[in-house]
Assembly symmetry: C2
Homo-oligomer: 340 residues x 2
């Protein structure tokens, strides 16, 4: 077993125990208030009976704890931060599913389809409050109050960025033209700042100096950007068997991803094509052909390489050590070394 | 001018300045992300042009600051807490309006009717995060980090109670039978815990001992309960000219308030009556007659008196002093001395 697998298994267990404590999962049966949240977390089924459903990869809390350890801290002290970030992420999923009208998530019905939009909005609000309470538990593990206040401030500044990203994402849906810069700002808010919070809080709790905290934060931020841009590339040119979804979906649904927005900014033919109401296989073929001639793939690949390199540069500058550093490198490689 | 009027005017100004700083109101024109929140606060109109609309009574932040002062503290130090509570209250209004489908608030269109449910959910989330950032500013006013962490914990524990109250309130809508105890638990969450947070944080920042903090918190809690029960009584037997709404509305809409729930628990005739689909003036008259015979008014009045007395008892035990104490008494009298 490599370092990442070994450490992440142990860390995930600690994070799940912490989240269960914060969400009162030991009270059985839970009332509907907590039950809805337990369902979302995969701990209960629709009838609020015990369940053990895939709760996603939980990459975020693991990165937080690995960073803490690699920065010379005691990762167990950072467990409240890791749990808070995972709860924050899950709160945002509950509200995103309502805002996007998504009927399913991780192969199960979304909260709002079972208990209605009104109660689902409220369940999201509850989980948002509980995520804060999770983070507040840092002081129970001996973290200094000054550090906890600072962590809470960065947590909520990140929440503001997340909601700005979500605001922009929904705004793009109703707009014709979106610039490449606007898109990069949006994915920074929707994806990258949360990964940046993971690494920043891990470093903060380890107690390294301001410069090192900054480097760890930039490692997370650029890792998030690289991951998202690679995802955009795979959404058009990826190997279907490898990525598990049809590579043409992003074009069929006219999703505004980086290569598309770059192509639209460069090429009138693509703009005309995208004004068509209906899309089909022929549309996809045409669009990919035009995209290839505009250099959209090269542009996106260049961005992905830049973010990847910047990310790893900052990690190196932070001077991490030990098996947790090895594990961070293994994880980065997994997230970034996808064939593009 | 009495003490309350004099102090509250000054305090409201400070709180509004603080909220404007947190919500970046100086940036003109605001982008739509902040603009939606500025509209909700009454600072901007629908076109995001400057406006100065009645922002409600802002009783909560004023009680917080008066308590801090009456407990021997410097109220200006507690301004971040007062601003945070008012922002928390406004976040909950944004989501409540969506959950209740309310088209107007304070005589203006609600956020979701102008910008859609999706963006309004997100705007509420943003204001929730910003309310936390407001509270975090306590440390910028010289409040100890330990106190700030404690205040933040109580803030989020209160948010959990608020969402539990809202959960129960929505749950009652779809249920036939609601007990008097369930109702009291619900209004504790929806109304009383927020007032309790106001007085608790004011006392905490003043730095009084644990017993005094407890007494101030109980003062606020019982004040909130008394206020809500009096409101329920006025909703049936109040003087229309005095309360500004038809006294029969609560019966016409079959609203489950304390006197009604007490009556339903005591009287089969009322239960039968309430099974009727349609309601009219005759229905209202009949219902009031039956309510009068069940002693529902006496029961509710007795509860209101109990909460009022308990509230003032705790205030006295906390041993407040000075003009802010006089102002707290004046405010309590205004809220409680309504003819029931």
């Amino acid at each position: 077993m490599n370092e990442f697998k070994q450490l992440s298994q142990q860390m995930r267990q600690a994070v799940n125990a912490e989240m269960k404590a914060v969400l009162h999962a030991a009270e059985t049966p839970p009332d509907l208030y907590y039950g809805m949240m337990h369902y979302h977390m995969g701990w209960r089924d629709e009838q609020l009976q015990p369940a053990d459903v895939n709760a996603g990869k939980q990459i975020r809390p693991v990165i937080c704890l690995l960073t803490c350890q690699a920065a010379g801290g005691d990762w167990e002290q950072a467990v409240p931060a890791a749990a808070a970030i995972e709860l924050l992420h899950n709160f945002s999923l509950i509200h995103d599913d309502i805002e996007d009208g998504s009927p399913t998530r991780r192969g199960r019905k979304t909260l709002w389809t079972i208990w209605g939009t009104e109660q689902a909005i409220n369940a999201g609000d509850s989980m948002f409050a509980l995520a804060h309470l999770a983070l507040n538990r840092l002081v129970d593990r001996g973290v200094a109050a000054e550090t906890a206040v600072h962590a809470l401030r960065r947590f909520d500044e990140t929440c503001v960025r997340l909601t700005q990203g979500q605001h922009a994402d929904m705004d793009f849906e109703r707009r014709d033209a979106v610039s490449v810069d606007e898109y990069l700002a949006m994915i920074t808010g929707k994806t990258a700042v949360l990964l940046s919070l993971c690494t920043e809080l891990g470093a903060l709790i380890a107690g390294v100096d301001e410069t090192a905290v900054h480097n760890y934060a930039q490692f997370g931020l650029n890792l998030g950007l690289a991951f998202q841009v690679i995802d955009d590339i795979l959404g058009i040119w990826g190997d279907e068997a490898l990525i598990g979804k049809s590579a043409s979906t992003d074009i069929l649904t006219k999703k505004k991803t980086l290569p598309i927005l770059y192509g639209l900014s460069q090429n009138g033919t693509l703009r005309q094509l995208y004004e068509q109401e209906n899309t089909d296989e022929a549309f996809v073929q045409q669009a990919i052909e035009v995209l290839n001639t505009t250099g959209a793939r090269e542009y996106a690949s260049e961005r992905a390489t830049f973010y990847s390199q910047t990310s790893l540069q900052h990690l190196e500058e932070a001077q991490p050590t030990g098996p947790a550093f090895t594990a961070l490198n293994q994880l980065s490689a997994m997230l970034l070394k996808r064939d593009f």
